[in-house]
Symmetry: C2
Subunit: 366 residues, 2 copies
């Protein structure tokens, strides 16, 4: 399948991200989504033009778009594109078509729960829109997807405010992977905390783990913070402990791909190690995530499926094979940080302790 | 300066490494050293042909050869090449020429102490050989360098035996960077422990941290273990904690670039984090290093100079820039693991506790 790309969003499109770039946006005519190809950053800014649910599923699978909230939004837009394609079907066939699209989208990445949550919400909208006539159906689903996107950005801003309150007036935040505008509808979760603190006048510097194998920290976190003029220093993952021991880190803030009922946090591989190191160096380890990342049906981290991705994503860098033939490669894409290492979770309704009772109460009251 | 390379060692040269490859060897005529260009592994096996002390210094600086014991041996051969060039000078001029060569070699890498140790030993040999006539001088220094090389291989075999005794009959060893045949005269320090255990009939598998930014684990450790048919799995550095939590690791064994009098260990950046994680997961963390890596004049790790290398070594992978303009990069090449995290140190005279009294006693008795 040939992929069309454009170098920028259409000028008439006001990105819901609130920035000049966005991980994913739906065009004003509801016919095309623009997905920033994050695999090309920081060298190149290019948006894939995605016109079907299947193409969106492929974009998610191939990590054109990544980050738990962002892939939820991308999947929602994928269902909206599917609704347009199925707009003229009868009610049953319409719902069946969207269920098929939803299944394809849901299967792309197993660990992030936002994806399943967003798809389920879109399916609910599809079922309630089944009796509408063609164009109205498609417009309804596009509107629901856009609302989900707007909510995500609002949630990021709120959790940013909650987290910013916890940061010292002058501090260095270490983060892992990219939990920024690029991983969300806009503003970011962990980087939303940084942005909110900077907006509140705090002097915040960021140390970004490069985050092998995909290098989301080096490529994405550094890029979007540099775009905002926030001071960022990239280190290789193995340097985090050294930086902590040298007093260069005050706080750790990361995002999450799924949070279990007991507060265990699945996030990008390497997060758990950072949490251990934060504990050893007596630094607070915070998680920033919207309620859509919580999965109260999962009792604890041991029940979270850890996606295994291909060996070549680690063994080949660019065009260069760095691992010899004859050696094995492991590539778990996520790990689980036990709740006991998490100082607090920042959500859109405020700070929550990583503890089952607190999570259940805050979830009920959200 | 144009660099000549050859794809293999001359067939008449029996490598002192004891393997079919070697980090560095001196040709039978004492006129050329062959330095395996480790930057090209695993894609290509190529030896730089080095004919002068300055060229050897450049090979060390550029990390054509790396690994504390190996750069010591390379520097020794560098002085031997310098002795051949200066063979016909008068006694004073001969010593002065070798002192200049030694200074250039010593300045290439500040952290590894073997380098200074090997150069000092060669200078001592130069001084005692000053009254010899030309060809004999050069032959004497070549012989001393070869003896230093042979001693290193013997030391690796002995520390391997000491460490192998500590490994369970069936176990998985996690290691960081490359402390193998490629980092030594042959056989390896940490990987010497693995080789000795395998030779003793133990079933040992290795998990190799890829070791960013230089990827010595992925490229070198995996290559030389695969060459020996030892089971090796490469992970990115951020996966170590996850592997430990999942019970995939039994023991950690690493090498060292410098060990202070109190047992603090400077080694490749990332080692300290692995040591913290081993402690958190209650796994023994061992260091394998010859006495030439100990620096009893350095009281503890805080006095060890940590080499800062160029940002581009991290920010550029192959031809690809992974860090955007506008972001800073840190590149400390080493870190310090405090003695309290080190279960034991394997040396050529046996196992030593990482504790000042034990080190002082074993050093005196070595």
């Amino acid at each position: 399948m040939s992929v069309v790309t454009v170098a920028r969003l259409p000028p008439e499109l006001a990105p819901l991200s609130g920035a000049h770039y966005s991980a994913v946006e739906l065009d004003a005519d509801d016919r095309r989504a623009f997905v920033l190809d994050q695999r090309l950053l920081p060298a190149e800014v290019a948006y894939q033009v995605v016109e079907s649910a299947s193409a969106m599923a492929e974009a998610i699978r191939a990590m054109v778009v990544r980050g738990a909230p962002a892939i939820g939004i991308a999947a929602a837009y994928g269902v909206a594109l599917g609704a347009r394609a199925a707009a003229d079907l009868g009610p049953e066939a319409f719902v069946a078509a969207l269920e098929a699209a939803a299944a394809e989208l849901r299967a792309t990445r197993p660990t992030a729960v936002n994806l399943a949550w967003a798809v389920e919400r879109m399916l609910h909208a599809a079922r309630t829109a089944r009796e509408l006539v063609g164009p109205e159906r498609a417009a309804r689903l596009a509107a629901v997807a856009r609302e989900l996107h707007r909510e995500d950005v609002r949630a990021c801003r709120r959790m940013g405010a909650a987290g910013a309150a916890r940061l010292p007036d002058a501090c260095t935040v270490l983060t892992h992977c990219n939990a920024g505008a690029l991983a969300t509808g806009g503003f970011g979760t962990a980087l939303g905390v940084v942005r909110a603190a900077v907006a509140a006048g705090k002097r915040v510097r960021v140390i970004a783990d490069e985050t092998r194998p995909y290098l989301q920290g080096a490529r994405l976190t550094a890029w979007e913070l540099a775009e905002d003029g926030i001071d960022v220093t990239v280190i290789s993952d193995g340097m985090a402990a050294h930086c902590m021991a040298r007093g260069l880190v005050d706080v750790v803030v990361v995002g999450a791909d799924r949070i279990a009922a007991n507060g265990d946090v699945a996030n990008k591989i390497g997060t758990y190690g950072v949490a251990c190191l934060a504990r050893v160096h007596e630094l607070p380890f915070y998680v920033a995530a919207p309620w859509s990342t919580f999965d109260l049906a999962t009792p604890d981290g041991s029940a979270i499926v850890i996606e295994e991705r291909s060996a070549d994503e680690l063994a080949v860098v660019g065009t260069r094979r760095i691992v010899p033939e004859g050696a094995h490669v492991l590539h778990p894409a996520f790990d689980v940080t036990p709740a006991r290492l998490v100082a607090a979770i920042f959500t859109e309704t405020g700070e929550v302790a990583a503890e089952p009772g607190a999570i259940a109460r805050a979830y009920a009251a959200r």
